[in-house]
């Protein structure tokens, strides 16, 4: 999933200071799962913003709504009937959702309420960790299902480096060395020989180095 974290409330208040009526739009997908921008977080932020405005003697009308997915135009369209009630939109979706709302509603300012972080997995309740960088050419088949791009601090294709100590990365004693994990996994699978194969330099054009990316699926487009 795409993970996100709430922005400081002060920052959001600064964005909406000139307005009196806003739509606060959550998203029912990834940001709901990582508790950053679902229905409940919409309620909490709405309360906090209204109280902050009241404290400075002003009223803030907040229309709370949580869309099924803010990254799909079909669902963003649900904002159209209520858009005239608001001077601005505060989106609690990831950056994709914020941009989709901005694209659809050209004359209404849209502000993000969360910082979008990474594509990750849930390690345990309340803890998420980065797992994929969307490099565009997956190498998990040869690394035992553990991604050296997302999980090695140096993105080494042939690791580990000298900074690996007792299975941990030198950047942080809580960060696993991805190449230690890969080696352990290959050993468990009986595929130690695979470790001897040198991986060639990666073609990063499939990643962000090739500019903004698109997918066109011919049978659907």
């Amino acid at each position: 999933m795409i993970t996100a974290e709430s922005k400081p409330i002060d920052e959001i208040i600064e964005y909406i200071r000139p307005y009196r009526r806003i739509i606060l739009a959550g998203c029912n997908e990834c940001v709901t799962v990582c508790s950053a921008g679902g229905r409940k977080e919409v309620g909490i932020l709405s309360s906090a913003l209204q109280m902050a405005f009241m404290k400075s003697g002003r009223n803030l009308e907040v229309k709370e709504i949580t869309l099924e997915r803010q990254c799909d135009p079909e669902y963003v369209e649900e904002l159209a009937p209520i858009m005239d009630q608001a001077e601005a939109v505060v989106s609690m979706a990831c950056g994709c959702g914020v941009q989709e709302v901005a694209r659809r509603f050209k004359h209404t300012p849209v502000f993000p309420a969360v910082n979008t972080k990474f594509m990750g997995a849930s390690e345990r309740q309340g803890v998420w960790a980065e797992r994929c960088q969307g490099c565009g050419e997956c190498v998990l088949a040869v690394t035992g299902g553990i991604c050296p791009i997302a999980r090695c601090s140096k993105r080494l294709l042939n690791g580990p480096c000298g900074g690996s100590t007792n299975g941990k990365c030198e950047i942080n004693p809580e960060t696993d060395c991805a190449w230690q994990l890969i080696w352990d996994r290959l050993k468990a699978l009986g595929l130690e020989d695979r470790y001897e194969e040198i991986m060639e330099a990666k073609d990063w054009r499939t990643s962000r180095d090739g500019g903004p990316r698109r997918i066109i699926k011919e049978d659907l487009a």
Partner: protein
């Protein structure tokens, strides 16, 4: 300020604090009538949102009263509640309402005296803090709604 009577909302667990409040009554103990009790099946169900909404609607203080650590009927509901209270305190500090208006308290069902004492101490603490800074605006809104 002279006649400030704080409004306190107390989310009380059915298995401990609510029963303790009941016991305080049976024991003929007095505690301030400022405390408005909301019975919940477990404090684990009390979310940050419920605490904030209570303050947004004009409460001056909120306490969540759950079971003693290790005694939760649903194992960890009270621990979960303590985290929600902490989150509410963080948000209230950020917006300048003050996190000290919210507190997590634990007690057993037999602590009738403990409940009465907690109610008194918390009420006095909020009285000393003064009214919720948004109270004037809330009251104005209520009056406007009643007049319309």
């Amino acid at each position: 300020m002279e006649h400030f009577e704080p409004v306190i909302v107390a989310f009380c667990c059915h298995y401990c604090a609510y029963t303790a409040a009941d016991m305080a009554g049976s024991m003929r103990l007095t505690y301030p009538p400022n405390v408005k009790i909301i019975r919940v099946p477990c404090t684990g169900k009390v979310d940050t949102l419920h605490i904030l909404r209570a303050l947004q609607k004009g409460a001056d203080g909120v306490f969540v009263a759950g079971c003693l650590e290790g005694d939760c009927h649903f194992k960890t509901g009270n621990i979960r509640a303590a985290r929600h209270v902490k989150q509410a305190q963080k948000v209230l500090d950020e917006i300048g309402i003050g996190g000290e208006r919210v507190e997590m308290i634990t007690m057993s069902a037999g602590m009738g005296g403990g409940f009465a004492r907690t109610a008194l101490e918390f009420t006095e603490k909020i009285r000393a803090l003064g009214p919720n800074p948004i109270k004037n605006v809330v009251e104005k809104q209520v009056r406007a709604a009643a007049g319309s």
